[in-house]
């Protein structure tokens, strides 16, 4: 039990090379599946332990903390670990039919897909769990490199250019982070996050530290697709395979946001980030412009996957908006939306995976009549859509609610109005899909069947989770509030 923090990362890491040597796609899938559900179990145990007993610290290689690498788990990253591993496990459960048919890889290379998936999971979990600043960079690159590979396996040849574009922008982002960490090390002589948090205030008025802050913010901003640094995202999500999109949209950007939170609140402290550097003045307009412009662009897309990709940019805007409020409620909204948006987008993209499995491509005109031919898939899509809009009784409502309350608390009622207004934009683009799917006749000359159960069951599990967490909010909102309190250093 004491070694759960290490096993959390090592299990998928160990599994990746095994997948690669197995040589048979089905065996590799089963192995990866077992490992990913086990990681989910571990993260659930960790969250339980953290909520019971407080912070867990694990010294890698028995080297004590400031010198050695420390894995440090508090309520914030235990919560993130749960999100990442849960989505990773559920999406992988659905992966097999799509990997078997809709991925541009020869049969003998398919085990490598699962190896890359496992490495990506390793990287994301590692970034979340570690308490060492340089470790964040290493795990970031592990997850990024494997996600470029995963995206490039899409059938469309544009997947290759999308992966290339992501590689260039992602590497620039990671290098910026590397510069930032280097400058922090120069000023403090430590890489341990807890140690950094103690030493940064002593040098907080130096220009080097301000530059480090700027580099880190821009670098992480690139990785989390903060408007206007989001240009890699729409293509990467639109042309990558559906399972990959579902996995990455629900986890990769979220973990980057977690790094941002860690940096603003734990490393530099809310006082420095929001009072000295006035981040709220930068993040708030960027978030609002991002929400507006991305939602507007989403309305005019004909490729549904691309539409949802733009909607992801908008949703990230909501999360950043919550963070920029820098209050307990605002931060709770942001963190709860991390969870809810992960559920929503995984549901929607998996439903699109079902659609493209049967219809071939997630184009709007090809979805005509799917409400009748693929009722279960489209029902799951509608639930995800409602949750995206933020209809009461769905999980999306919870985070929107906290966001509006948080904005009103600060007296920023125009912001609250804008949040409600932009939800209407989400209604428009979701409605476009619903209209085509339910009110247009299916094409007469082809027979479209419902998606196979192997895809439907995970999709529905996620859809039902959307409804469940809309009613039972102790996990998404309750723990989010505790995590927000931990970050701000107050009692909830």
């Amino acid at each position: 039990m004491d070694h759960l923090p290490a096993l959390q990362v090592v299990l998928p890491l160990f599994c990746a090379p095994l997948c690669a040597v197995l040589g048979r796609a089905n065996l590799a899938w089963m192995l990866a599946l077992a490992a990913s559900w086990l990681t989910f179990l571990i993260s659930a145990l960790l969250l339980h332990e953290v909520l019971q007993q407080g912070v867990i610290s694990y010294a890698m290689g028995n080297w004590p903390a400031p010198l050695g690498i420390e894995y440090r788990i508090d309520s914030v990253n235990a919560y993130m670990l749960l999100i990442v591993s849960a989505i990773g496990a559920i999406v992988l459960t659905a992966a097999r039919p799509i990997v078997d048919t809709r991925i541009r890889l020869p049969e003998n290379k398919k085990p490598w897909f699962y190896a890359a998936y496992m490495l990506c999971l390793t990287g994301l979990l590692g970034m979340t769990i570690t308490g060492d600043a340089f470790n964040v960079f290493v795990f970031l690159e592990i997850s990024s490199l494997s996600s470029y590979v995963l995206i490039s396996t899409g059938r469309d040849r544009r997947a290759l250019t999308a992966a290339y574009q992501y590689l260039i922008m992602g590497t620039i982002g990671a290098t910026f982070i590397l510069i930032g960490i280097g400058l922090l090390y120069v000023m403090t002589g430590t890489l341990n996050m807890a140690d950094l948090a103690l030493r940064i205030p002593q040098v907080s008025n130096t220009r080097t530290l301000h530059v480090a802050f700027a580099f880190l913010t821009v670098g992480v901003g690139l990785k989390l697709a903060l408007f206007p640094l989001h240009l890699w995202l729409p293509n990467a999500y639109a042309y990558g395979p559906s399972v990959v999109t579902a996995f990455l949209s629900a986890t990769a950007t979220k973990v980057a946001i977690y790094i941002l939170l860690r940096m603003f609140f734990t490393l530099f402290g809310a006082e420095f980030s929001f009072k000295t550097m006035r981040l709220d003045l930068i993040l708030l307009p960027l978030a609002l412009i991002g929400i507006f412009s991305a939602s507007l662009v989403a309305i005019f897309q004909t490729n549904v996957k691309r539409m949802l990709a733009y909607s992801s940019v908008a949703q990230i805007g909501y999360i950043i908006l919550g963070i920029s409020l820098a209050s307990l409620t605002g931060l709770t909204a942001g963190i709860a939306h991390l969870f809810n948006h992960a559920l929503i987008k995984a549901t929607l993209f998996l439903a699109l995976g079902c659609v493209s499995f049967r219809v071939g491509a997630a184009k709007l005109e090809r979805m005509a009549g799917l409400g009748r031919t693929m009722p279960w898939t489209m029902a799951a899509f509608v639930i995800g859509g409602l949750s995206l809009i933020g209809v009461p009784l769905t999980s999306g409502f919870i985070s929107k609610w906290y966001l509006v309350v948080g904005a009103l608390e600060r007296g920023w009622w125009p912001v609250a109005m804008l949040v409600l207004l932009t939800s209407l934009l989400a209604v428009i683009y979701i409605w476009r899909v619903v209209e085509v799917a339910y009110f247009k006749p299916p094409p007469e000359n082809e027979v479209i069947r419902e998606a196979p159960l192997a895809l439907l069951i995970p999709t529905w599990a996620l859809a039902l989770a959307n409804l469940y967490f809309g009613l039972e909010t102790s996990l998404n909102a309750g723990v989010a509030r505790q995590a927000a309190a931990t970050l701000l250093g107050v009692t909830p």
Binding site: F14, A16, P17, L18, A20, V21, Y58, M60, G61, N62
Partner: protein
Amino acid sequence: MKQYAVLRVVIRLLLPLILLFALYVQFHGDFGPGGGFQAGVIFGAGVVLYALVFGLHNARTIFPPWLLRLGMSLGVLIYAGVGIVSLLLGGNFLGYGALDAHHPEHGQHLGILLVEMGVGITVSAVMISIFFAFAWRGR
């Protein structure tokens, strides 16, 4: 490349030295500068040199794809395996001290040696694979 006798002879003389130097860097890595990554790259560079002069076909018969795939995976498995063994023996993950119950420093020694070996195997296999992946493409 058949006509370049000088090149072939020189490479034949140099190649064992290059590979030997790679092994030296590998196993001397825990006393002085060196280690698995550098050694793996030197080893890989030696093989690339061999392939350039004696042809890709010959190099691929010595390092067939299955062997490289095994090597790439095996190295990571050794690395993680050492970590898990030390974890089972009562230390933390990668806490080499636990490998030898009576003399922790012997355990440290053994642990770093094995881990660096894993790194070396993976890096050399990856380096050779990258070269083959580009050179063999389109054949």
